[in-house]
Each structure stands twice: as structure tokens, then as C-alpha cells.
Subunit: 233 residues, 2 copies
């Protein structure tokens, strides 16, 4: 019996995946060395390496130098979810995007916000409350703090034509971000802005972004009732 050669990394990956899901190689078990697999599939070791590396990154395999490669005991499912750009998400659904600024102030922030933004207490920050709408209906209530020291140009922008998020993405080179997903019960403010009964469960995304120089912005997005964030495999 001649095995047809598998000499693409996708092919190798597919075959290895199959052997894992079909339990040819059981969880916790060592699989053959790269060199052996390369020989079996009739391809170069680099090709096998590429295939296995990705599977290890996905959490299906555990690899260690010298020790070898084994099938992960309980596959840590890492879901990759795309953080939406609100406008694009709405437009993609064929709805009309709109947004308006509800308030724009420059107060001394509450201690909790000052801490998260790593600014000295007493320092003022730009505070924006905006609403994104889809076909006129409330979609996301955005509550954002911006550090004007990190982005001086922000003071000259009124965000009537462009949302703070998109303006920041365009103007400021981000380096890192921090995301927290949670839920809250609509209080008076959220209920009014999103036109829903108080007490409605709402999906919340808190995001803080920074650059090497320091914190730029911290935003809470409160989504309309019924919002779902979805991902596959």
C-alpha cells in the first residue's frame, strides 16, 4: 500500500487534526517526532513543524524541546473574537449608522477612573458620552475618558462628524489594549439612553488602550438589549 504524499503544511495539519479528533492519538499521548512524521508524509521537517506549531498555538498539542509533542489533555479552547468597529458592524448589517455626542466635559475624574488611567488625582480628563444608532435606534452607549496630555489634539475636535473611537484609531498609534466583558443591569441613565426598561440585562465591554508614553483612553461600551457577540470554533 502506497500512502499518497502529504507535502503541504495544511495537509499535514488536517491529517494530524484528524488523528487527534478520531483518537488515533489519544489525549496525553506522545505523537511521533517531527522527523518521523516528515518521513511518513514524505515532506520536509519544516513543513511538519509549521503544521504542528499552529496546532500547539491553538492549544491542541503540548510541545516541549527534547521531551517531544503530546496531545493536549484538555484542549484549552481559545476563541478569537473580533472587537467590532461599531460603525462597520452596523453598516455590514445593512443599517444606517448614526452617532451623537450626549455630553462633553472636562472634569476631575472619579478616583477609580484616575487610577485606571494612571493620572495624578486632581488632574482633569476629557469625558465624552456618546450614542451610536442603527437605523435611528440606540445601539451602543459609549462612556469614554481621554487623557488630553497623551492626545492634545483631542481638545480641538468636537466629534460631531466622526466618533471618538474612529478618530482615535486614525490619529493615535496604539500599542496595547485591555478588554473586559461583563454584564450590568440597566440603571436610570442606561435605560433612558438605550430606551429600555430599567433592570434590563445589558452586555458591556470595557476597554483601556495605551501607548508606550502612557494611557490614552478608557471606554465603556454598553450595548443595546439583546446584543450578542459571536465567534466560531
Amino acid at each position: 500500500m502506497t500512502t499518497p504524499e502529504i507535502n503541504t503544511w495544511q495537509g499535514v495539519q488536517e491529517e494530524v487534526r484528524r488523528r487527534i479528533t478520531q483518537r488515533v492519538w489519544r489525549p496525553g499521548e506522545f505523537i511521533p517526532h517531527e522527523a518521523d512524521l516528515a518521513a511518513e508524509f514524505g515532506c520536509a521537517r519544516a513543513t511538519v513543524n509549521r503544521a504542528l506549531r499552529e496546532l500547539a498555538e491553538a492549544g491542541l498539542l503540548d510541545r516541549r524541546r527534547r521531551a517531544g509533542t503530546r496531545v493536549a489533555v484538555n484542549p484549552v479552547r481559545k476563541a478569537q473574537l473580533e472587537i467590532p468597529v461599531i460603525r462597520e458592524e452596523i453598516v455590514a448589517k445593512g443599517q444606517a449608522y448614526g452617532h451623537r455626542v450626549l455630553s462633553r466635559e472636562m472634569p476631575v475624574p472619579p478616583a477609580e477612573v484616575a487610577a485606571r488611567m494612571q493620572v495624578a488625582p486632581g488632574r482633569k480628563l476629557l469625558h465624552l458620552r456618546t450614542l451610536h444608532t442603527a437605523d435611528g435606534a440606540p445601539y451602543v452607549y459609549e462612556n469614554r475618558w481621554i487623557n488630553p496630555e497623551a492626545v492634545p489634539a483631542v481638545l480641538a475636535e468636537d466629534f460631531s462628524a466622526i466618533s471618538p473611537n474612529e478618530w482615535l484609531v486614525r490619529e493615535v498609534p496604539f500599542e496595547g489594549g485591555d478588554f473586559t466583558f461583563s454584564a450590568l443591569s440597566a440603571g436610570g441613565a442606561e435605560a433612558e439612553v438605550l430606551s429600555c426598561p430599567a433592570g434590563t440585562g445589558l452586555f458591556v465591554l470595557d476597554r483601556t488602550t495605551w501607548t508606550g508614553a502612557g494611557m490614552i483612553t478608557s471606554v465603556r461600551l454598553v450595548f443595546h438589549p439583546g446584543y450578542r457577540m459571536h465567534t466560531r470554533l
Copy 2:
């Protein structure tokens, strides 16, 4: 001036990242070809390719054959979140894990569930309601449907010693999954099980998993009030 050679893919990636965040290469702009970069850094094209490929996967670059590589206009932020194994999440926090089965029945499922599980209407499914606890306090309320045709062994298991999730992960070779994050307002059932006031906003994760043969299980996890799911960059 002699540029020190950068001949590791990590080094190349770091340098390219720097040029993007510091706007040496501006959003939308084309960057030099792989061959040119390889020459500049004094490394092989394969090394540059590896560095750029990962940045493209991360959404920082747009690459197309023949056209070239350009800096992404608005970096699609892809957050990779780890779907927790409840028990491990609790144990990692130094708390005592516990779980108990609230109910175990085999009814004809509501139409909505039958559709999601792709079983003929009228067909019975195993329905489990369980509660995971951390130091005795309610942590997650789990509402699960299992297709016994896909996993016959499930009928012999009472899940007193092991949670349905972990049992399934151990026994059944998954192939794919479907995740939805949302929020709900605690109704009577959730409020009682999670010991919180009705109307509390709760974080919800719906997951459906399948294998080539068909749907295996569909579960709704309702987390305790205040639960947060977190990820970085």
C-alpha cells in the same frame, strides 16, 4: 553608519511593529517588499515572511499577492479569549470548587433547542441543570442539552463526580464549536439558583459543540453577578 543585522523573526517583527506604531510607515501605505526588507535587515526572505505573516494575522498588515503589503487602515483588533474550564478557573483563584446536579431529565426539547441541535422535532434529549460553586457560593448556572444519539454513554453517567463539561471533553472528540456572549436579566430561576435579586444583569455564554457526525451538546452558562471575562491586547 552600519545597521546591526536583525536576523531573527522576532527581531524583524519588533522592528516592523515599531515602524508601524511610530508612523514611520503610515496607515494605508505600502511597505517595502520582503526581498528589500530581507536585504535591509541582513536576513533571509523566509525570516521576513514569518514576521510579516504573523503581523498580518494579527490584523496590523494587509497582504496580497502581487499587490504587496500595506499597513492596515484600521487595525481590526482581534482579542483572543480563553474559554475557561470552570473548575480550573475556580481552582486557579485558590477557591474550593464544587458542583451539583439540580435536575436531570429527558424531555422533548423546545423547538428552538431542537433546531439548534439539529434533531428531528419530537426526539428526546438529555437535559441537565447544574450549578458550579466556588467556596460554596454559586459561580455558574449551567443549562445543558445533550444529544444521546451522538453520545450514548451519557445515559449511564450521573455526573455526581464529574461535571458534564469535563466528562464530555474527556469522552467525546469535538470538532467545532460556536460561542455567543450576551447578557440577560435574572429571572426567577436564575435569581434563585445564583442567589441574587431578580433583575440583576448576568453575563451569559452559549456554546454549541459538534463533531463530523452531528451536534453533541448545547449549553448556556449563566455566570454569577459581577463576573468578568478579561483579555489583553
